[in-house]
């Protein structure tokens, strides 16, 4: 499902500095996540969790190494083939990235519309998703009018509405209270039970203890342990 072999990532240098002078964000990552697994992605702030997720969601090409997601080797996949792959990957971003001028319903409907799903059947799916995330009462609100937990759940509903094969969540419980965090985690675990491969980045140790699962542990861009 996800296979990394010797993967390194170095962000482009800020202008004025010689190439290669910057610190690598990720170095020599080698691991495999089997289909249908649930993994924690752990590490301190700046360890490279978001960078790793960006590689997995095909939003970034590695500087070195092999990234294979959903059976496609990124270095051998043509750019025009990537959108179809991205539609099979659901992502909950650390900063949500809800479009501020669209209602919650339209935000959740966005992946379906991008995939060209006909309008007719689409709203029923969206309504079901909103009900699943406990947001049916807020469907017509703009994201700015939602609480942090509601925004988080809206982002999760958008990530899940396409029934992705791979679900990536970056700090999905970031600034939520314990009850809200457990609610989000329950939703993620439900997706996992339905067969989705799930990776959740967090540094909330209490949560990891409450939901034990295999973990990828990053430190300074390197993989410290796996399993």
């Amino acid at each position: 499902m996800v296979r990394f072999a010797g993967v390194g990532l170095r962000y482009a240098e800020p202008p004025g500095r010689p190439p290669g002078a910057g610190q690598a964000a990720l170095q020599d990552l080698t691991f495999t996540l089997p289909s249908g697994s649930f993994h924690w992605l752990l590490g301190e702030s700046g360890a490279g969790k978001s960078s790793l997720l960006r590689l997995m969601q095909l939003a970034q090409r590695p500087t070195s190494g092999v990234v294979e997601v959903l059976g496609a080797d990124l270095s051998r996949t043509r750019r025009r083939a990537l959108p179809a792959l991205r539609r099979r990957i659901g992502v909950v971003w650390q900063d949500f990235r809800l479009l501020p001028h669209l209602s919650v319903r339209d935000n959740v409907a966005l992946p379906l519309r991008i995939a060209g799903r006909p309008e007719a059947g689409l709203l029923a799916d969206v309504a079901e998703m909103l009900r699943w995330a406990g947001l049916d009462a807020r469907a017509d609100s703009l994201p700015a009018a939602l609480s942090g937990g509601e925004q988080q759940r809206a982002a999760l509903a958008r990530a899940v509405v396409m029934r992705p094969a791979l679900l990536l969540a970056d700090e999905p419980t970031g600034n939520l209270d314990a009850a809200q965090a457990r609610r989000i985690l329950a939703l993620l675990q439900e997706m996992h039970r339905l067969g989705t491969t799930v990776v959740v980045a967090t540094h909330a140790d209490a949560l990891v203890r409450a939901f034990p699962a295999p973990a990828l542990r990053l430190q300074g861009g390197r993989l410290m342990s796996h399993g």
Partner: protein
């Protein structure tokens, strides 16, 4: 499911292009350019009309006319010899009598009662600076001839009309180029305003064609509306010009006798309607293509 109507179109505009590519500036600018383009088209068309009309007249830049007997008594061959020797003359050729008779038929009828003069057509090496001076040189070289130089003036007008046509077409190209630049700038501003939303759509699996298509549809609409406005504004202006130009282009023989209501329609009938109708569509196509190219170029920076 009861859906409030206002929200649905918004969901179909996730990039918020109705604000990012707003309908205020672009149609106005494009309307001004479409007006200029319409003027240029009409100018090119008018100049082309003049060219076509004058081309025949300029074919023989000068004519030399000899009395009817000249063909028989050898004056014609001597005159041709003398004319060919003049450095200004590229070619001298006697017009054959059948063609002359055909040219004069409207005035003289089938069989004229008097013998026709001998007419020599001259093709000049270059248009003379001073036709009067050349006329007198030719008259001196061919005694007893009458020399006609109106073709020189027609040729000068023809050259002018041809350059006008070229200038009008160049102006049209220039306007099109400026329109492309204006659309590109507007689209780039739209991209800058919607950077985050574009990146999100890209990350959610939108293709370049999808994102570029959204911009292109919006740009084509705005530019098409502007083009239509500009063209509509141009119509009365062009009708006025057509009125002024009518005598130069020559009206059909019965035009002066037509009933007044028909005369009132004449300037409208002269407008280059097919070109004018095509203008907004061409403008929209140009806007579409420019937006496509601009957005796709920008999207190439994303993986």
């Amino acid at each position: 499911m009861a859906e409030p109507r206002l929200r649905r179109p918004r969901g179909r505009d996730p990039l918020g292009l109705r604000r990012a590519l707003s309908g205020r500036l672009l149609p106005g600018l494009v309307a001004a350019m479409a007006l200029l383009a319409a003027l240029a088209i009409a100018g090119a068309r008018g100049a082309a009309g003049l060219t076509a009309r004058w081309e025949g007249g300029a074919a023989a830049a000068m004519t030399v006319q000899l009395p009817p007997a000249a063909a028989a008594d050898g004056r014609l061959s001597r005159a041709l010899e003398a004319l060919t020797e003049l450095p200004e003359v590229a070619a001298a050729r006697a017009m054959d009598q059948a063609r002359l008779a055909a040219l004069l038929r409207p005035w003289l009828g089938e069989s004229p009662a008097f013998p026709l003069p001998v007419v020599i057509e001259l093709r000049l090496a270059a248009l003379p600076e001073d036709p009067a001076w050349l006329t007198s040189r030719i008259a001196a070289a061919v005694p007893g001839a009458s020399v006609e130089a109106h073709g020189v003036w027609v040729a000068r007008l023809l050259a002018l009309a041809r350059s006008l046509e070229a200038v009008a077409l160049a102006a049209l190209l220039l306007v099109a180029g400026i329109a492309v630049a204006v659309v590109a700038v507007a689209v780039r501003a739209g991209i800058a305003a919607r950077r985050d939303a574009i990146a999100l759509l890209h990350d959610l699996g939108a293709t370049d064609a999808d994102i570029a298509g959204r911009f292109a549809a919006r740009a084509a609409w705005l530019v098409g509306v502007g083009g239509l406005l500009g063209t509509l504004l141009a119509v009365p202006v062009l009708a006025g010009f057509a009125n002024l130009a009518a005598p130069l282009l020559g009206s059909s023989p019965g035009a002066g006798l037509a009933p007044p209501w028909q005369q009132a329609w004449q300037p409208w009938a002269r407008l280059p309607w097919p070109e004018l109708a095509a203008l907004p569509l061409l403008a929209a196509a140009l806007g579409w293509a420019t937006a496509q190219a601009t957005v796709r170029r920008w999207l190439r920076r994303l993986p």
